[in-house]
């Protein structure tokens, strides 16, 4: 009994000493800041920064290979913490970028040429006879962007995607996923947004979709600030001139122009 106990205790001490020695001498030196930053970052591994994930970005930040604001997903608080850990200054003046869908071709509004019964994938749907909708520019409605969203802040409603802008992190995965390139990142508080990409002429656009921009130019004529110019049957905005009066949105005969949700809410609460 006793020899066995002594032998086992001896072995235990020996291995313990070995492990203690190894952990000192063979320790991997890791910058503490890497772990600190990783904890601050969103941890979604969405890849929007261009690195393999949050851990890879943390390392790149510490090694100075990435900009302090490289994470487009993290809110200003998180970016400020990152800057603090790295001992740098972050410029947080810019407004938040969110994904906006430039199409309101809902099931009610957009005309279709045939019914599509294939797989639920926008690229596949677009490959069949140029898509089932009359409009060759707009949303195909199969929800490839919703599937691509790693933050679960998009959903399909009436055949077009809706972005929950307050949850959107602006990672841009949906922008990449859309074969028709109708999703873009824009400032959350951009005073007016054009919800149409159709460059078709008035007649053609109107026949394709009742929410389409027909290129009528009423918005440009209404604007007192001269901030709107028509190009390819679509208005182009100069936000340096725009005073966010909303007259163009009022003037638009279709639903092609709109004010961002944040502004609408602000206006609603002040009334």
């Amino acid at each position: 009994m006793l020899p066995a106990v002594i032998t086992l205790m001896g072995l235990g001490l020996l291995f313990g000493a070995g492990l203690a020695f190894a952990s000192r001498v063979l320790a991997v030196k890791r910058d503490e800041r890497v772990e600190a930053i990783e904890e601050v970052l969103p941890g979604a591994n969405c890849g929007a920064c261009g690195f393999a994930g949050c851990s890879a970005l943390s390392e790149a930040l510490v090694e100075g290979e990435a900009d302090v604001q490289a994470c487009p997903v993290g809110d200003s608080e998180a970016l400020a913490r990152v800057a603090e850990i790295l001992g740098q200054e972050a410029d947080l003046g810019a407004s938040r970028q969110v994904a906006k869908v430039r199409c309101r071709g809902t099931e009610d509004a957009a005309e279709t040429r045939f019914s599509y019964a294939g797989i639920k994938d926008c690229q596949a749907a677009g490959a069949i006879a140029g898509g089932h909708k009359v409009c060759e520019h707009g949303c195909l409605g199969m929800g490839s962007c919703v599937q691509a969203c790693p933050f679960d802040c998009m959903y399909m409603k009436d055949g077009v995607p809706v972005v929950v802008e307050e949850d959107c992190t602006g990672c841009g995965n949906c922008v990449e996923a859309c074969p028709r390139s109708i999703i873009e990142l824009a400032a959350e508080d951009q005073p007016v947004f054009l919800y149409c990409v159709s460059t078709a002429g008035p007649r053609e656009a109107r026949q394709a979709c009742s929410n389409a921009c027909m290129g009528c130019g009423l918005c440009a004529r209404t604007c007192e600030q001269d901030a709107i110019e028509m190009q390819d049957n679509l208005p182009v905005f100069d936000f340096d001139k725009c005073n966010a009066c909303g007259a163009c949105v009022e003037a638009c005969p279709t639903d092609a122009l709109g004010q961002p949700p944040v502004l609408r809410e602000a206006a609603g609460s002040s009334e």
């Binding site: 294939g118 797989i119 596949a124 490959a127 069949i128 006879a129 140029g130």
Partner: protein
């Protein structure tokens, strides 16, 4: 009697009895034809006429200098109404010449002049030239310019010509009727093709569900050194690569063409067109199309003008017996559903199939259960389930570009997975990668 075949494939119900016994019926010229400037694989044609021009039947209305292409001809005589746009049966939108018919079918002067020619007086280049001028493309459906098949690179020798009379697509019977009614023309076309390619061996492959066609062709080749081979009735027996494998035991290399192994395969309808082009300088302005399906009142085989609206064919068949669920251009396995009856018949349109809701029911897609039935069915020995994976990165490892999109995998899938559509996405990605790297 032993029948030849290939590995893989499926046995769909054929429904050929609907139209197999109906003799080819010549339809009159429609009031207006729409001649798409691209009806083939290759470069599009440029219009050679203008709106307002008078054209004779058989006159060239579109041509190009590109080698892999084929000119298009007026299929009626009349006036060019406009140079506009049309959708093709596969949905692509292309430029087209729209001709209003005067109902006289005047034949163009040049074609009338050359009506006396014999094969003996022509060499291989003459035949190739005649085939190109006639605008002949593969009439089985793929519409590959035929003269290109007869122009192998200098180091390649063509030893065998195969005429494809398999007609493995369900429902279609146009090739069957052509073999019964124009067997001699097919053989004379084969003679011309053999001479154009310098080949020694001529084979005609027919599936064993068409014994009358086998008999008719055997009768027609009695005084010729050609063989008529009987093949198992199995889909896709008539796919070029599968037919070569079944008849000769040769495999077309991955990414290669039948030319690489010394073989040219032509559809029997193409052989008829070649014969007419060689003997009478007759351009390809008509073709035989099967109008069939369980939603058509009188299924039949019709000879129509290229550019005739699909509506004309359906009206000639008595219209619909019930509202169709799908109208397909081509066969049900590889054809495409169409949504507009004013889409024109092209040189490659072999059938118009209108299916009832019973036959074309939409099945809901379930998850893959890894049963590997698609692997067994694939005639190319690919693994469709992996090719159709959502993760295209991994799908790219399984040679997507070898897929011939025959649809056997989608047909056998017990989970109703739309495998071919998914594989097409993978193929598009693979194609883009190949172009990037080259």
């Amino acid at each position: 009697m032993s029948v030849k075949t290939f590995a893989g494939g499926v046995h769909p119900p054929y429904y050929k009895e609907l139209s197999a016994s109906s003799q080819i019926e010549d339809l009159p010229a429609p009031q207006q034809v729409i001649i798409p400037l691209i009806q083939h694989i290759g470069a599009p044609c440029q219009p050679t006429v203008e709106a307002g021009d008078e054209v004779a039947m058989g006159e060239v209305v579109g041509d190009t200098d590109a080698f892999v292409s084929a000119p298009v001809h007026a299929s009626v005589s009349g006036t060019v109404k406009e140079i506009g746009e049309t959708a093709l049966p596969d949905g692509r939108k292309v430029q087209a010449i729209i001709i209003e018919s005067d109902g006289e079918d005047r034949i163009s002067g040049e074609a009338a002049l050359q009506q006396q020619r014999t094969l003996q007086s022509m060499n291989a280049d003459d035949i190739r030239d005649a085939v190109r001028k006639a605008g002949i493309v593969g009439m089985g459906g793929a519409a590959f310019p035929t003269h290109v098949k007869y122009s192998p690179p200098p180091e390649t020798d063509i030893d065998t010509i195969i005429l494809n009379g398999c007609e493995c697509e369900p429902f279609l019977t146009c090739d069957h009727r052509i073999m019964l009614e124009e067997a001699d023309e097919i053989v004379s076309g084969l003679q011309a093709i053999m001479k154009a390619c310098g080949a020694e061996r001529g084979l005609i492959g027919i599936e064993d569900n068409k014994p009358d066609a086998v008999e008719a062709m055997r009768e027609a080749v009695r005084d010729h050194p050609y063989q008529v081979e009987v093949l198992e009735t199995k889909y896709p027996e008539g796919a070029e690569k599968q037919l070569i494998d079944a008849l000769l035991g040769r495999e077309v290399p991955s990414g290669g063409l039948p030319l690489d192994i010394g073989v040219v395969v032509n559809n029997v309808a193409t052989a008829v067109a070649v014969s007419r082009a060689v003997k009478r300088a007759e351009p390809l302005t008509k073709r035989v199309v099967t109008v069939t399906g369980d939603a058509v009142k009188q299924p039949k085989n019709v000879r129509v003008r290229v550019g005739a609206p699909i509506r004309q064919l359906l009206e000639a068949s008595g219209g619909f017996s019930e509202a169709p669920a799908r109208i397909i251009s081509g066969g049900p396995m590889m054809g495409t559903a169409i949504y507009d009856l004013d889409i024109p018949i092209t040189k490659g349109t072999s059938g118009i199939v209108a299916l009832s809701h019973q036959l074309a029911a939409d099945a809901s897609e379930e998850a893959c259960i890894r049963c590997a039935r698609c692997v067994e069915a694939c005639p190319i020995s690919l693994m469709p389930l992996y090719l159709a994976e959502y993760d295209q990165e991994s799908a790219l490892q399984y040679n997507p570009l070898d897929c011939i999109e025959c649809g056997s995998c989608s047909y056998v899938c017990p989970s109703n997975r739309q495998l071919v559509q998914r594989i097409r996405l993978t193929k598009a990605t693979a194609q883009a990668e190949q172009e990037d790297s080259s």
